[in-house]
Amino acid sequence: MAQYLLSAHSVESEVEGALTTDEEMQAFMERVGALENEMKSSGAWIFSARLNDPDTATVVRVSDGEVLTTDGPFAESKEHLAGFYIIEAEDLDAALGWAGKVADATNHPIEVWPFADTQS
C-alpha cells in the first residue's frame, strides 16, 4: 500500500466550482460527505479537510534566528489549495480512481501526489 495526497485546487477567476448559494453549499457538503463515507468504509481514508480562504493564512519563517510572521499565503497566486485528502491505496490506478471521484464531487482539478517513503 502507498499513501497519496489528493489536493483540490481552486482558481480564483473560475466561476465553475464556486459555491454561491446555500442550496449549492448544501449539495456540495452532501456529495463530499457521501464520498468521505465511501472512502472510510473501503479503508482508503486517512484524513481530509476543506481549507478556509487563502487570505486567512499566515506565514511564519525563521531568519537569523528570529521568527518572522507575515500575513497571507506563502505564494501569492491565482490558484490556491482549497482542500485535501490523504488516502491509502494499492497503487496509482486506485489513487487516480479516488481522485476522479473527488474531482467529480468538488468540481475542482485534483492533484495526486505520492508520499515519500510510505510504501510497504
Binding site: E90, D91, A95, A116
Partner: protein, 404 residues
C-alpha cells in the same frame, strides 16, 4: 557448429530483450534491476555463445541467466535480501516467487510492460522513450538519436519516468476490460508515433520495423481489440509504400507519382486481409478506417484508377469518429479527385490549419490545378517555409517554380 558473431548476438538480444526485461520486472518489481541484469546476460552471451554456440532457446537462456544474475546481486546487498523476501509478496498466490504465475488467462509480461510504459500519468515523450528502451531493447543513445534529443537529456527523461513509476506506484498489470478504452489509446498512439518518427527521419529507418514488431505483439496478445488490428494493418500498408515514397536523394515522391510496381505485395496482402477481417466485425475506429483508406489505394494499379468515391466514403466515417481539421483536409483532397479542385478548395479554405504546412501545400496544388498560378506560388512558398525537412522544403519550392 554454426559460428555466431557479435552482431548476430546483438540482433538476438534486441529481439528477445523486451520479453526478458518484462519477465524480470514482474519477478523483482524493479525496472533498473531488470535492465541491468539483462545487460549482464548480454555480456555473458558475448563471452560464451561464440565458443559454445547458440543455445536451443536463446530467449529462455537470456531470461534465466539474467534472473540468476539479479538474484546473485540481490544476495550480495542487504537491501537486496529484503527485496528478495518481498518478492513473494509481489506475486501473490505463488509460493516460489521465481516460478512464473500461471493463474487466470496467461498474460504475456510484455503486455503488462507496455501498459506501464504508456500509462497516462506519464508524458507522451516519456511513454515513447520507455517503450523503445524497455520493450524495443534500444540503447538510451539510440532512443535519443531517434528523437533528435541529446543523450544526457534522454537519459534524464528515462530516469525521471522510472522514478515516477516507482514513487507513484504506477501498476504493472494489464488494465481490466472496463479500463481498456482509456488505456489502449496511449499505447496505440505511442506505437504509431514510433512508426512515423521512422518514416520522417530517413536516418532512423529501424524505427518502422520496430513499430511493426510492437504492433504485431499487441495484435497477437489482444486479438479481440479491432483497433489494435487496425493499427497493424495501417502500418503494414504504409510500410508497403515506404521504399517508393522517397527518391535516392531523399526527396519525396507523391502518391500520384509513385512507381506502384515497387510496392511490397506481401505487406499489402497481409494488411488488406486484416482490413477485411475488421470490416466484417463492423465496429470501425480511427485506425481501422485509415487502414481501409490505405487498402483502397493499394488496390489501384494506377493513381487514376483509385476508387475515390470509396475513399471519400471512408473519410466521411473517419471524420465521424475522429473529427479533426487534418482528417477534414484529407477528405477534401479526396473530394477534389471526385468533384474537381474547385469543390476541394472551397472545403480547404474553411479549415483553420494555418500552422500546418500540408494545408498550404494542398491549397497550392489545388490553386495550380485551377490555373491561379500566382496564388499557387505564394502558397507553395508558405508551405516550403514551414516544412520540417530539407527534402520536403526542396520539393515544395520545386512545385512553386513549376506552377509559374
Amino acid at each position: 557448429m554454426p559460428t555466431i558473431d557479435e552482431a548476430q548476438i546483438g540482433r538476438i538480444f534486441r529481439e528477445e530483450s523486451g520479453r526478458s526485461v518484462a519477465a524480470l520486472i514482474r519477478i523483482f518489481g524493479d525496472i533498473d534491476l531488470a535492465e541491468d541484469a539483462v545487460q549482464e546476460a548480454f555480456t555473458v552471451a558475448l563471452d560464451k555463445w561464440p565458443d559454445e554456440g547458440l543455445p536451443p532457446n536463446p530467449g529462455g537462456w537470456i531470461t534465466t541467466t539474467a534472473r540468476n544474475r539479479a538474484i546473485n546481486r540481490l544476495r550480495r546487498e542487504s537491501r537486496g535480501r529484503e527485496l528478495l523476501s518481498e518478492v513473494a509478496v509481489l506475486s501473490p498466490g505463488n509460493d516460489d516467487p521465481l516460478i512464473p504465475e500461471e493463474v487466470g488467462p496467461v498474460q504475456d509480461d510484455r503486455l503488462r510492460l507496455i501498459f506501464t510504459c504508456c500509462h497516462p500519468a506519464l508524458s507522451t515523450e516519456a511513454q515513447v522513450a520507455l517503450t523503445l528502451r524497455l520493450l524495443g531493447g534500444l540503447s538510451t543513445e539510440e532512443v535519443a538519436r531517434s528523437f533528435l534529443v541529446a543523450e544526457p537529456t534522454m537519459a534524464q527523461r528515462l530516469v525521471r519516468a522510472k522514478r515516477k513509476i516507482k514513487a507513484a506506484r504506477i501498476p504493472y498489470r494489464v488494465p481490466e476490460d472496463h479500463e481498456l478504452p482509456n488505456r489502449l489509446g496511449p499505447v496505440l498512439a505511442v506505437v504509431y508515433l514510433v512508426y512515423n518518427a521512422g518514416l520522417n527521419s530517413p536516418a532512423e529507418p529501424g524505427l518502422c520495423p520496430e513499430a511493426i514488431r510492437l504492433s504485431r505483439i499487441l495484435a497477437k496478445l489482444m486479438p479481440d481489440e479491432l483497433e489494435v488490428a487496425g493499427l497493424l494493418a495501417l502500418l503494414l500498408l504504409t510500410e508497403s509504400r515506404r521504399a517508393s515514397r522517397t527518391r535516392p536523394d531523399g526527396s519525396l515522391v507523391l502518391l500520384s507519382e509513385q512507381d506502384r510496381r515497387r510496392w511490397d505485395r506481401a505487406l499489402i496482402e497481409e494488411g488488406q486481409a486484416i482490413v477485411r477481417r475488421c470490416l466484417r466485425r463492423n465496429q470501425p475506429g480511427a485506425y481501422q478506417l485509415q487502414a481501409a483508406i490505405n487498402a483502397v489505394h493499394a488496390d489501384a494499379s494506377t493513381f487514376e484508377e483509385t476508387d475515390w468515391p470509396q475513399i471519400v466514403a471512408l473519410y466521411d466515417q473517419l471524420l465521424a469518429v475522429a473529427s479533426t481539421p487534418v482528417v477534414a483536409l484529407n477528405r477534401a483532397i479526396a473530394i477534389g479527385e471526385v468533384q474537381g479542385p474547385a469543390a476541394a478548395l472551397a472545403l480547404v479554405d474553411d479549415l483553420d490549419l494555418d500552422n500546418y504546412h500540408p494545408f498550404h501545400a494542398t491549397r497550392a496544388d489545388l490553386l495550380r490545378r485551377l490555373g491561379r498560378h500566382s496564388e499557387a506560388e505564394a502558397a507553395y512558398e508558405r508551405a516550403a517555409a514551414m516544412a520540417p525537412t530539407d527534402a520536403e522544403r526542396d520539393f515544395l519550392r520545386l512545385g512553386g517554380r513549376a506552377s509559374r
